[in-house]
């Protein structure tokens, strides 16, 4: 929402357009960090399909690239990976 001083400029109800990072860098919420073992990865892209935050992109060779600025560490990608190529590691480790 645009900041406004007068209610005359306000919409009937708050409307928010999707923008990157409107809630800040949500990657800071992460406790467990997904790490890809590219030797084990078969480029099936299931992790990319399942990521609920669109924090995984596909590189030229179809291998996943995780955006740690927005990955909240939910672990769905690691759970779905058929070759167990994604490991969840504690952030401080």
């Amino acid at each position: 929402m645009t900041l406004t001083k007068s209610r005359k400029e306000m919409p009937l109800t708050p409307l928010s357009s999707p923008t990157e990072g409107s809630m800040g860098k949500t990657g800071s919420w992460r406790t467990f960090r997904p790490e890809v073992n590219y030797a084990k990865c078969t480029r099936c892209a299931l992790c990319w399909i399942y990521c609920p935050d669109a924090a995984i992109s596909r590189q030229e060779d179809d291998s996943p690239k995780i955006d740690y600025d927005y990955c909240k560490g939910c672990g769905i990608c690691a759970n779905e990976c058929p070759t167990k190529a994604i490991a969840m590691k504690r952030e401080e480790e």
């Binding site: 209610r7 009937l12 109800t13 708050p14 409307l15 928010s16």
Partner: protein, 391 residues
């Protein structure tokens, strides 16, 4: 125009059809069921071009209506009592999102203990949800008010949802004649739906997201402003409807023989029809009594109550409702509206007809006679009296 003879519930279905409603999402509950059965029949037989969504609860019914209204179509639903209570959270989302949904509420008392008979405890419990509330006195008014409500709710000065309340069984399952206008006549009165904002796949956004304390109050104030605007528009819409269809209902409040009255019996719903019989009888006997029916309860007709109070000595409110630990809302709010007036009339409040107990013209006459006695003596025996209560 066609004159039909049918129940108020079926007539509510005719109104949804005449309003060219595009989405109906509903869950059946006694005594509302035949409203949505009638609509299902219209949709299934191809007489009504609408999507009928069967849902698993009233909460889902309201949420489906919210989604459909936000996607840009006219929506309708109906419920009663516990069904309305289950919708409670979603009702706030509809008004806060400023979506002009119209819903028939077939009034039924709240349990426990179970009751299927009418009082206003279901809809009046939803007083503060930001929905406008209309109360009907007969089958014809149910049809006319649903059509008027769409016109009002979709006005850009308003954009709020509305409940059209009708008492279970007294109206819902009672057959009476009603005029159903031709489709062209309704179309001429009610233009195509236009929402205040709309979901758009080409320009995606989400709505009613988190708002900081810096902005929340303004969004609330805008709903209050919309209610005030509705107060101005309701009499206009009613008059315009009257011009086209020959029936109008006094806007916010329907008065009957209030001129020269010392005592006015203030009611809502079908008790308003009964009160007219009482007034006729008492006037014949020489008592200066009138009656007034609060047709629109939200926004509350404060200005009309002030006008009414100017020339009378006493107002007696009859509430088919109790706010436990206080009294009925009609009594409380009428007193609140008049408090700052120097010369205000005496006000007595009655609780009557809970859980469907009959409130007949005779009952209202007894309340009027009690009131006249208080007026002569200049004092109230009780500020709130439960009428026809077993000792």
């Amino acid at each position: 125009m066609a004159l039909i003879v049918d129940t108020a519930n079926h007539i509510a279905g005719y109104a949804a059809k005449a309003a060219r409603v595009k989405v109906v999402a509903a869950y059946p509950i006694t005594p509302q069921t035949t409203v949505v059965e009638k609509i299902a029949d219209f949709v299934e037989s191809g007489q009504m071009d609408a999507e009928y969504i069967r849902v698993e609860s009233e909460h889902s019914a309201m949420v489906a209506c919210i989604g459909a209204a936000a996607a840009g179509v006219r929506t309708f639903t109906a419920t009663s009592s516990h069904g309305l209570a289950l919708m409670h959270e979603a009702l706030h989302w509809a008004s806060g999102s400023r979506l002009p949904i119209v819903m028939a509420v077939v009034n039924r008392a709240m349990g426990a203990p179970w009751s299927i008979w009418p009082d206003f405890s279901d809809s009046l419990s939803q007083r503060d949800t930001g929905w406008m509330q209309f109360y009907c006195a007969d089958n014809q008014e149910v049809f006319d008010t649903i059509i008027q409500a769409y016109k009002l709710c979709e006005n850009e000065q308003v954009f709020l949802p509305a409940m059209i309340c009708l008492e279970g069984f007294i109206l819902s399952h009672t057959t009476a004649p009603a005029n159903i206008p031709n489709q062209e006549e309704v179309d001429a009165f009610l233009p195509a739906y236009k929402s205040g904002w709309m979901l758009d796949v080409d320009r995606p956004y989400s709505h009613a997201n988190l708002v900081s304390p810096e902005y929340y109050m303004e969004f609330r104030y805008m709903i209050q402003e919309a209610m005030e605007n509705a107060k101005q528009l309701i009499p206009k819409v009613d008059k315009e409807y009257g011009k086209q269809f020959g029936r109008e209902y006094g806007g916010m409040i329907e008065k009957y023989k209030c001129d020269g009255a010392d005592l006015v019996m203030l009611t809502m719903g079908t008790m308003g029809s009964e009160a007219r019989l009482t007034v006729d009888k008492l006037r014949n006997e020489g008592y200066k009594v009138g009656s007034a029916r609060v047709r629109v309860y939200r926004p509350y007709p404060v200005e009309e109550i002030l006008k009414l109070a100017k020339n009378v000595q006493m107002i007696s409110t009859i509430d088919r409702h109790i706010s436990f630990g206080m009294e009925g809302f009609l009594g409380s709010e009428t007193k609140a509206a008049l408090f700052n007036q120097k010369d205000r009339p005496m006000i007595a409040s009655f609780i009557a007809g809970l859980g469907g107990r009959d409130v007949t013209a005779d009952s209202i006459e007894k309340m009027a006679q009690k009131s006249l006695k208080s007026m002569r003596e200049g004092k109230l025996e009780k500020t709130t009296e439960w009428f026809d209560l077993k000792e």
